[in-house]
Amino acid sequence: MSLVKEHELHKRRRGRNIGVGLVLAAFIAIIFGLTVVKVTRGDFQMQQQQGVTDGN
């Protein structure tokens, strides 16, 4: 018996594993996309301190 022979269990779970993998990949893409949009729109820009702008 070959070491690489696939058990029936692995065959049955392949679809489930691919599904979970795609969901995780989509999650990463969404978080990355949201971060890019928020950063480029300046949502995370720190407000300048009053003292600095006044030159004090």
């Binding site: 049955r12 599904g19 949009v37």
Partner: protein, 311 residues
């Protein structure tokens, strides 16, 4: 031991990815996605397309999570009804604990990420929707009152309001009326179906209006809710989301819907059985078009408004 049992795989009944997805009630999710999308686009504040996409996605995930929690709690009654017996839990594919874990995790995920992507008013509304559907409807009132359809309809009516809040950060007359549109549409839509489809809610001891109050009372209820619906649906046309397309669509569809409801209220069971529930079936089909066309018209008016067609 039989030959068949020797060859039966021990993994035969193991859940596939689709079984977990089925926990999220994908058919209900399509209505959630559509109405949330309309609420978001009809809002007077522009949203970045990617943020808008994420907002609708998180609202859909929140809706799906509440579906999973509903299946977790209702697995006992799902098992005894023909329509729901093949759902993942009664079918033995997914355990109740797994459904609970998926429902709770996705609920928290959807609310937190909607808050981070848009604002906390929208996130709060989504959290309330999940709470309302799971605790108020599923756990408390569904098995207690024949008005369960009305209460369940409220949970399904929140998505356009959440979409609106995701764009504007607040609640307005227009968004409340969009809520009322789905809320008041659900009872006549469902009760018309209950009149001509034999449902086995009795076996599950879920009180249905057709059984507890009779079919005559159900017919009267359909008319009352249709009149209320017409008032709110046409009223929505005079808010900021209304436009000529919406008003025209709403006036026409409400006239037809009212006509159907009056016919249903005037009929008795003998008449309905004689023509195989022709009027009730027609009314049910019209109800599907009614909701889709109302939200579609809001979308068209919003699009035309952005293109500057109405000046």
């Amino acid at each position: 031991m039989s030959d068949a049992s020797l060859h039966a795989s021990p993994y035969e009944n193991e859940a596939q990815f689709g079984d977990y997805f089925a926990l999220l009630k994908p058919r209900v999710m399509t209505l959630v996605v559509f109405t949330a999308f309309v609420g978001l686009l009809a809002a007077p504040v522009g949203v970045h397309p990617f943020i808008g996409f994420c907002a609708v996605l998180f609202i859909a995930v929140g809706g799906g999570a509440s579906g999973a929690l509903n299946m977790w709690y209702d697995s006992d009654i799902d098992a005894v009804m023909k329509r729901t017996a093949k759902r993942p839990i009664p079918a033995g594919k997914v355990s109740r604990d797994e459904a609970l874990a998926i429902g709770l995790t996705l609920s928290v995920f959807a609310v937190v990420f909607l808050g981070l992507a848009t604002n906390w008013v929208a996130a709060g509304l989504l959290a309330f929707t999940i709470f309302f559907y799971v605790v108020i409807y599923t756990m408390w009132l569904k098995r207690l009152t024949p008005q369960n359809i009305v209460i369940g309809g409220a949970a399904g009516a929140f998505p356009p309001m959440i979409g609106w809040a995701a764009a504007t950060g607040d609640i307005s007359t227009a968004s409340v009326l969009m809520f009322c549109l789905t809320f008041l549409w659900t009872p006549p839509h469902f009760w018309a179906l209950a009149l001509f489809v034999r449902m086995d809610y009795d076996n599950a001891t879920v009180p249905m209006l057709t059984v507890t109050h009779g079919r005559r009372a159900t017919r009267r209820h359909i008319l009352v809710y249709t009149v209320l619906l017409a008032i709110f649906a046409i009223g929505l046309g005079f808010t900021q989301v209304g436009g000529p397309v919406y008003l025209g669509t709403s006036l026409l569809l409400n006239a037809l819907f009212l006509k159907g409801a009056v016919q249903i209220a005037r009929r008795d069971e003998a008449q309905a059985e004689a023509d195989s529930y022709k009027v009730e079936k027609k009314f049910f089909k019209l109800s599907l078009l009614y909701l889709f066309a109302h939200f579609g018209a809001i979308l068209v008016d919003a699009g035309l408004d952005r293109l500057g067609v109405w000046g």
